[in-house]
Symmetry: C2
Subunit: 339 residues, 2 copies
Amino acid sequence: MAVTIRDVAREARVSVASVSRALNGSPAVTDETRQRIASIAARLRYVPHSAARSLITKRTQTIGALLPDLYGEFFSELIRGIDLAARAKGLHLLVSSSHGDADEAAAALRAMQGRVDGMLILSPHVDAEFLRANLPESTPAVLLNSALKSTQFDVLNIDNYGGAHAMTRHLLDAGHAGVAFIGGPDDNFDAQQRERGYREAMAAFAPKATAKIVAGDFSEESGYHAGRVLAKDSKPVRAVFAANDMMAVGCLRAFAEAGLRVPQDVALAGFDDIPIARYITPALTTVRVRIADLGRSALESVATAIEKPGRARNAAQTLACDVVVRASSRDDGRPTKPV
Amino acid sequence: MAVTIRDVAREARVSVASVSRALNGSPAVTDETRQRIASIAARLRYVPHSAARSLITKRTQTIGALLPDLYGEFFSELIRGIDLAARAKGLHLLVSSSHGDADEAAAALRAMQGRVDGMLILSPHVDAEFLRANLPESTPAVLLNSALKSTQFDVLNIDNYGGAHAMTRHLLDAGHAGVAFIGGPDDNFDAQQRERGYREAMAAFAPKATAKIVAGDFSEESGYHAGRVLAKDSKPVRAVFAANDMMAVGCLRAFAEAGLRVPQDVALAGFDDIPIARYITPALTTVRVRIADLGRSALESVATAIEKPGRARNAAQTLACDVVVRASSRDDGRPTKPV
DNA sequence: CTGAAAGCGCTTACAG
DNA sequence: CTGAAAGCGCTTACAG
């Protein structure tokens, strides 16, 4: 019922081989026959059967993306970047998201086997052991936001360190000598890098001040608790840098309850630039991550790995972040309405 | 290099036919051979070649999702619902998002042809004409949030009408006799349904009051302008219902500038329950849409359409919404901190 | 430049 | 219950 290459060949009075060559741009076809075949194929609305083609070419023209449950904005921005880049390269995108644990992620990864030419992997459950067990060595893959040092895969990270470093410096430059930090989960790669950025910026630009770190876990609630601790502190802090925006939101609430004004009494900053950041009062100074760029770069990296299987892997690449200054760290009398 | 069904057959000293039957659960195999074959296949890490299987079965076990650029949270929730349901059914998910115009959407739809067993389509660019031109009649498809009346496809909508109706009633019940409405884009299906819900609830529950509608276009900016108009009105309104949350956010800003307090002077409500809704001050009363449910239902509908090609289509199905009451419509002295 | 033929890795009537 | 064989729709050496 569906029209196949044989139908086109019959109609054009040529062999199926010629149809294949004409449609795939082989030079071994006269322009005239190519034209004729192309127009007949178009008239018949012929679409090559992708499975048949994959069977013989060993290519699916599809990239798989393995993603955990992610915050909405991050997820959609990432997919958007990946999707746009894939479209530009004529590649399809097979996604599997929402994996609660390592077993689910493993099952999803295995299920994609043979259906994709390469993989984009972003998952807290992924380590070297996991990949060895679930990803065939022959599958090109790019790891996103991973602590893994691999010679086998490309690794693409957000510049958590640089972003945190720059933000700490911004707060210090603004005259807030003592900057406290609210950390993220101990086992979280992003959190570790951000804390390191904070520590080193403090050591570099405020060598006399001591770094003050309160524990958190990226949740709003943990930010609230950290905020209460900081508000009660005997030596009041002049600036707080939370390792992510949600904790900054929680911290802000604690400060409000404690009667501390932001930014007049304390400056406050977060990390991620989630949409909420600009709508809370005061709008939150934060570090913006170029998520769509991350997705685009990742897609382009797998595409290259697929096209040139032998080439050397890049060292881990890192994507820049931007400091976004808003009212929460800007005590200059300007109104604190949404930016 | 990759292990095929022949390798398993050779190892198990049976024909490839038996391997196929054993692995696919055909009853025509002794339990003992099935066991032996299964364990050998596992040991060899055999994975059936999906293209080869698709070629013969005419099934890809894949659902395509065509999505426009969507607000982050909506997009990720929708994908999440679809993904979870697909996994439960052993189906893969091919996505194509971020289509700026009808041509891009058409190209994406055609590119998926032959790679999917069915389609989920959510796009403002899609109408009957578009589908006739770009979607083969034989492809099962479900339309999400579409005004289309189709006997060929299932249509799944959010209950915009019911949600707006319930919200209007809530505002009236709370004693705000005059409820004004900020509308969305004229050509937007959601916006139309929400406005209808507002009008009919007003007619039903406040027959003496006149419906007051200010135009908007779903942007924050348009909500801001509407808010300025309403604040200056000779007859001050007691409650404002914006057709989406972003406009409510803009309206809130205009009210703040005009010195109007929410909810003491005016109650305010939106629609969508975007994450920002609970973080602005005061937290916004709104209509929550069960987006993940929408995705799950849609996936299950295509799956059914694929399994039972002949069955009658459902009439357009509709998914319920919930009114979420927060501080912006609750002048009861409770603190207006985030809920 | 063009065609006949082999083969990619599966599934499934058809025999036995 | 099991196997030999055909065939799904393509691509690509191999001849000519």
